[in-house]
Symmetry: C2
Subunit: 256 residues, 2 copies
């Protein structure tokens, strides 16, 4: 599982960043030795830097002596994409109140969709996507919406690569996918059935700001309820509209 986390240059900063990077896709708690191994750095160097990061608050030493990402990084992370997340969130919650289906908001990061917000309760725990998690662009409704928002050269290049097939029903044929992306662009929404997980269906629509698709809003529920898709469409549409209006509006100051 441990990828060959190669160091870009011999720069000090890149080493420090390698250490933070060692926590990406980890169990969350790492010893100094493990960090060193994952970051491909000498032990003493790692030790020194881990301490510097700890003092700053970027890392935190747990009661078991292992290190984990500190809350200062979490706080800092809250600054990223704040406009979108803050303005969209209340309407995602409204949509959940209305439907009680899992709602999520994703953006494109490279060749994956990144889930930036997600509403769910203990009744239906999310099965594949999680906040902060990534999924391929071709196998989910939000992914296809985000892919469709990219220029043709991007779509073609994406479909050229080896495409994962999480289920036996996942479409990976570039020709068919090109067709499907065309449909998404024309219709303004995407519906995928059992592409990422059996018995799961997802619907998604683009969120547009300044003429650009900045995110995709989606709903997920059981595949056998496919007839209900029509019922949810207007609610999804309405939510997207409200988000778009909120995005354009003046800043709403919350708290401090």
């Amino acid at each position: 599982m441990a990828e060959p986390q190669h160091i870009r240059g011999p720069s000090v900063t890149s080493r420090a960043l390698s250490i933070l990077g060692a926590f990406e896709g980890s169990s969350g708690n790492l010893t100094v030795a493990r960090i060193a191994a994952r970051a491909n750095l000498p032990l003493s160097t790692t030790y020194r830097m881990v301490h510097e990061l700890e003092e700053w608050g970027g890392l935190r030493k747990g009661s078991d002596g292992k290190y984990q990402v500190g809350f200062r990084i979490w706080e800092l992370g809250q600054m990223a994409g704040r406009r979108l997340r803050d303005r969209a969130h209340p309407f995602l919650q409204d949509l959940f109140d209305l439907t009680h289906e899992n709602v999520h908001l994703a953006i494109r990061e490279g060749t994956q969709s990144l889930y930036v917000d997600k509403i769910y309760s203990s009744r239906k725990m999310p099965q594949v996507s999680r906040i902060g998690g990534r999924l391929p662009l071709h196998a989910t409704a939000v992914g296809r919406v985000l892919l469709g928002a990219q220029p043709d050269w991007f779509v073609d290049a994406y479909l050229q690569r080896e495409l994962e097939a999480p289920t036996t029903k996942t479409v990976t044929d570039p020709r068919i996918l090109t067709q499907l992306i065309g449909d998404v662009r024309r219709d303004g929404y995407s519906v995928t059935i059992e592409q990422m997980r059996m018995n799961a269906l997802s619907v998604a629509m683009p969120v547009v700001f300044n003429g650009q698709t900045v995110a995709a809003l989606g709903l997920v529920f059981e595949a056998f309820r496919y007839r209900e898709v029509q019922r949810f469409m207007p609610q999804l549409r309405g939510t997207v509209d409200r988000i778009e209006v909120a995005m354009a509006g003046r800043p709403v100051h919350i708290g401090e």
Copy 2:
């Protein structure tokens, strides 16, 4: 507003961290020059490091040329305190479904409470606390719960300092607060009225894991509805219980 972000040492890492720190409490979009000023670093040094951070994904250059915190930091931040947030979240949502009042979860960080999760819809936007935001420990219900979980020497030291009074009703007298903290410890919950904002009331209870108060769960609603506090107590209690059970249980694997 710009605090004198002093550099701990002349170490390269501390400089890089100063740059990230420049975004804390900022508007979100900063020019290189502004970053340099806030981080107290020479312009050329800042320039070089900003680019290194950008290449790694820690910073992102917006369409206006200004820099903002990148999603890689956000993703990394999702690793911090994941156990608590992941396990508690579905039950916070359940509580919101039940009450439709603003629900939040906070931990103590230093002498402040840090809001790590929050459920709200567009009906009642949060007024003072936001996810990733901080508030003083003595003026909110979650804060008092978290304060009460600390040893006496901590409480005494905290109350010794100059205490903020966000409203005219905020209690800042150390004697009275000591008494109130005692009540919280005895009763296992805290109710505060108009301590942080006029016309706001909050109730909170501690979340205990391994014999330690790791967080506080709270509800906020309008002060004039103070009679309803009793109605919410069992629901809060039940939610806390479920969170505590979930915290102790085996890991529930959600997606990747």
